[in-house]
């Protein structure tokens, strides 16, 4: 059976991708952010996951308002990025694992999650930036991926509790996969930031630090938050924290040990967070 070895969460701002493309990791502005990653990459090098389930949100690349899914899961043989309107450069394609995808789809639909299934799917910076941060775009790529996109574009968004519960079902689905694979779940996005409106630039350090602590030690405390609470406390785009909750829900079948945690303000308009939790069986 497959083993869920741990969960990682990281912010996924486009500016990070540009900083990587331009080699700015040691630049004074960027260094404190990038310095969080070596311990996570060391863990990945040691644990060597075969598959990464990447929870992200599409920011208007693959999905438009004509067919906007609440939960969409990839079932493609590979995934490519695109320029997103900003001329981002093409990365090496990310190999998929369609058999694993279909196993997860069977289990999640049986558990009453109403997925959209995507046998072809462009992945945007919400997906690629964490991949670049964690696996540094080494080719051939070290992991196969299953992207899982959560709607944060069109309200109503799925509630924090629904997302956590999706994670719980996802964790069970992963560990019922009949192949001897090591699987890591990656939650992306957040923490507090807001791009739109007169409150643009809003960051809430105190709330972010509370979230970082609660998601490790007492995730249940976060599940009564509404989307409205999240938007109020973490900014419009801070609602991306629901993606972290999917990751944390997946780990709920195990105990967790915290391996790495980092918080830094600002990365572009964002309070940037990083977290690595290892499964303790």
């Amino acid at each position: 059976m497959a083993k869920l070895v741990g969960g990682i969460a990281t912010s996924h701002i486009p500016a990070i991708g540009l900083a990587i493309a331009n080699g700015l990791q040691q630049d004074a502005y960027w260094k404190p952010f990038f310095d969080g990653f070596p311990p996570v990459r060391e863990w990945l090098a040691r644990v060597k996951p075969d598959v990464a389930i990447v929870i992200y949100n599409d920011h208007g690349l693959n999905f438009f308002l004509d067919k906007m899914p609440t939960f969409a899961i990839g079932a493609a043989t590979e995934y490519r990025n695109a320029d997103e309107g900003w001329g981002l450069k093409a990365l090496a394609p990310f190999p998929g694992d369609p058999r694993m995808s279909w196993h997860l789809i069977e289990e999640l639909v049986a558990a009453d999650f109403d997925l959209s299934t995507c046998q072809e799917m462009l992945v945007d910076h919400g997906f690629t930036v964490p991949m670049s941060l964690l696996w540094q775009d080494v080719v051939p790529r070290a992991v196969r991926v299953v992207p899982l996109a959560i709607n944060t574009v069109q309200h109503p968004l799925p509630s924090p509790r629904r997302c956590y519960n999706l994670g719980v079902a996802l964790g069970k689905a992963i560990e019922s996969y009949p192949a001897d694979l090591r699987v890591v779940v990656v939650g992306t996005g957040g923490l507090s930031h807001q791009l739109d409106g007169e409150r643009a630039g809003f960051i809430n350090r105190e709330f972010d630090l509370r979230c970082l602590d609660d998601i490790v030690n007492r995730p249940d405390e976060l599940l009564n938050l509404s989307i409205h609470d999240l938007v109020e406390q973490a900014g419009s785009q801070g609602a991306e924290f629901i993606l972290w909750l999917v990751m944390r829900g997946a780990l709920s079948c195990h105990g967790v040990r915290e391996i790495a945690r980092k918080y830094h303000i600002p990365v572009s308009n964002t309070g940037a967070g990083l977290l690595l939790l290892e499964s303790v069986s």
Binding site: G60, Q154, S226, H228, V231
Partner: protein, 115 residues
């Protein structure tokens, strides 16, 4: 029944009402994912906007390059970001525009949030 919540100052929520209002504008901005469409827009803005059926409020907001007006006209920030890309504006530039600050002052505000 889903709870109705109090508005949050300066914080647009892209809900159904906004979605209804902004469909044409958002559809146009979504098309900017493709460089061919970006170039077509730049070659003839009026014709491109007309093709997507923008209403006068939306067209004026596009002409004015004004993010708050675009949001008021039903624009969704994720699709608008593709329009900002055409103009060479990043999220700090549009943050400064919406808050009425200089870009330098906006960046200083973000740095200050970290201390």
């Amino acid at each position: 029944m889903a709870t109705v919540r109090a508005p949050i100052w300066g914080t647009p929520i892209f809900d159904g009402a906004q979605a209804i209002k902004g469909y044409a504008l958002n559809k146009m901005c979504y098309s900017f994912n493709d460089a061919v469409n970006r170039n077509e827009f730049l070659a003839n803005e009026a014709a491109y906007c007309a093709r997507f059926g923008l209403n006068p409020e939306q067209y004026a907001a596009i002409q004015n390059r004004n993010v708050l007006q675009l949001i008021a006209a039903g624009g969704n920030i994720y699709y608008l970001a593709k329009f900002a890309g055409i103009l060479g504006l990043n999220v700090q530039d549009i943050g400064a525009q919406q808050t009425g600050m200089t870009v330098e002052a906006f960046k200083a505000k973000l740095l200050a949030a970290g201390v």
